[in-house]
């Protein structure tokens, strides 16, 4: 290629595919980090995802119930359909935009290190490339588990997944943390899980998958919240996809459902959480609202304040405006809506982002929202 002109070299990966190494996918981000000196900052990603279905055969072995264990094993051996006992919806594979986002489609990269679970290596690769100090790891498809028609199955799978994660992933790198799944469909199991896992390595709190249809203020959940508050453990509400309720079923494209459902579930839960006075009942229980973006928050603050001031008799536990309670909550940075930068700035100001906003990637291990994205916003 030498013709006497300036020399160049080909990038080693001309095209990123499902087999490309995470470090190569993130190569540009690592470069950006280095140029901007971001490695010097302590950075915590509070919402990383791994593909638990890849390890599903291992996960189901942790099911306690012998009959459900047998069923899960039998389901596992069948081709097609959702992996054993899960209610994973194949239609949601639109997430990779028809193969346009390869790492979302499959993480097929080669891993030679057999001393730790494959997911530990994948997390390490992404954390190292992105300069992360800690990553809070969540499941992927299990975010839909709250709509499983069998609460017993939700509970058993939650227990199995939590045990698998605590045995096989968390102990092998102290930078990997988690907010463990609470199966609200069976409150007794929530207590068992909190009791069993609160002190396990890497467990920094608990998580409710927001795609579920029982109100979060139900009396059966109150002892769970009390227990978390007593133990000084935060509770996260992780939004997710849902294409089955009456509203999202009217959207016949993934883009439409995706835009709405990730916010709608947390709009409902946050409304119930505030209007039923949960922040007054448990003032020291920290809540985190994950993966609904930020643009919904100014709407919630204004809408709930307006309604509350006209109807305080319906929300007698409140001692201040709903927006004041929202200011005490925490939020994740995925996704930050920025097509209108002035609105984004107003949103940051409205929620006191400097103290309440937490960084996250939201990805199947290590994707790819620019590190600390708010650093590059021009306000």
């Amino acid at each position: 290629m030498d013709s006497g002109f300036e020399k160049t070299q080909d990038l080693p990966n001309q095209q990123i595919t499902t087999d490309t190494d995470t470090r190569d996918i993130l190569r540009r981000e690592a470069k950006y980090q280095k140029i901007n000196g971001l490695f010097k900052w302590p950075i915590v990603d509070i919402d990383g995802h791994h593909s638990e279905m890849t390890s599903w055969k291992e996960v189901i072995e942790y099911i306690d119930d012998p009959i459900l264990l047998h069923q899960a094993q039998e389901f596992q051996s069948r081709t097609g359909g959702a992996p054993g006992l899960s209610n994973h919806t194949p239609g949601l594979r639109y997430q990779d935009v028809g193969g346009r986002i390869p790492h979302q489609q499959q993480l097929g990269e080669r891993i030679r290190d057999k001393t730790v679970h494959r997911d530990v290596t994948l997390v390490r690769r992404s954390m190292d490339a992105l300069g992360l100090d800690y990553q809070v790891l969540f499941p992927g498809n299990l975010l839909q588990l709250g709509t499983h028609p069998q609460p017993r199955v939700e509970a058993q799978l939650a227990l199995a997944y939590n045990r698998w994660l605590c045995d096989n992933i968390l102990p092998f790198d102290n930078r990997i943390k988690t907010l463990l799944y609470l199966p609200l469909g069976e409150p007794e199991m929530c207590h068992q899980i909190i009791d069993e896992f609160s002190n396990r390595d890497g467990v920094v709190g608990f998580m409710v998958t927001s795609v579920r249809f029982k109100p979060v203020h139900h009396n059966s959940y109150i002892p769970i919240y009390r227990k978390l508050e007593e133990r000084k453990l935060p509770l996260a509400f992780h939004a997710g996809l849902n294409w089955t309720d009456e509203w999202t079923r009217q959207t016949d494209l993934f883009i439409s459902m995706h835009a709405i459902s990730f916010v709608l579930c947390n709009i409902v839960h946050m409304t119930n959480w505030i209007i039923h006075g949960l922040p007054e009942r448990f003032p020291n229980l920290k809540t985190i609202w994950i993966e609904s973006g930020l643009a919904w928050l100014p709407f919630m603050m204004q809408r709930l304040d307006s309604e509350y001031q006209m109807r305080p008799s319906e929300a007698p536990l409140l001692k201040k405006l709903p927006s004041d309670y929202i200011l005490d909550m925490y939020f994740s940075s995925q996704p930050i809506e920025t097509s209108n930068i002035k609105l984004a700035e107003a949103t940051f100001n409205a929620i006191n982002a400097s103290t309440q906003l937490m960084y996250c990637l939201t990805s199947p291990i290590g994707i790819l929202i620019r590190q600390a994205p708010f650093m590059s916003l021009s306000f």
Binding site: F5, E6, T8, L11, Q15, R28, V97
Partner: protein, 121 residues
């Protein structure tokens, strides 16, 4: 302006590419429909490696004369490069996002001289 040798024209297949590194600058050179196009390997969304993404035709929705939808189809002329990080798409001939004229890749001139392809930086 620097003139960077990229390769020999005959080495490029239709819809082929070459993604090169020149100092700290990464550039993708694409050959589509007999013409060359070059862009910085830097998605305007979040800085992703846009030039290393998939190349697919633009998807269009077919409307009948009465404006009823007749379904989706590939546009055989418009070719897109798609960012592998988040899915932003850009027309390879223009470097512009199909629905946001402000989302535009940084482009470079390309010349072919005696069968050799050069990008001008």
């Amino acid at each position: 302006m620097n003139k960077i040798f990229v390769g020999v024209e005959s080495d490029f297949e239709d819809r082929g590419r070459r993604v090169i590194e020149y100092n700290d600058l990464e550039i993708g050179i694409f050959f589509v429909g007999g013409d060359f196009y070059a862009y910085e390997n830097n998605c305007v969304h979040q800085g992703g490696p846009i030039c290393q993404g998939r190349i697919l035709n633009r998807v269009v929705e077919l409307l009948a004369d009465d404006k009823t939808s007749q379904g989706l189809a590939w546009d055989e002329h418009d070719v897109h490069i798609i960012c592998p990080w988040h899915g932003y798409e850009f027309n390879i001939r223009t470097g512009v996002h199909p629905g946001n004229k402000h989302a535009r890749l940084r482009s470079f001139d390309v010349s072919v001289e005696k069968g050799e392809v050069y990008v001008h930086i």
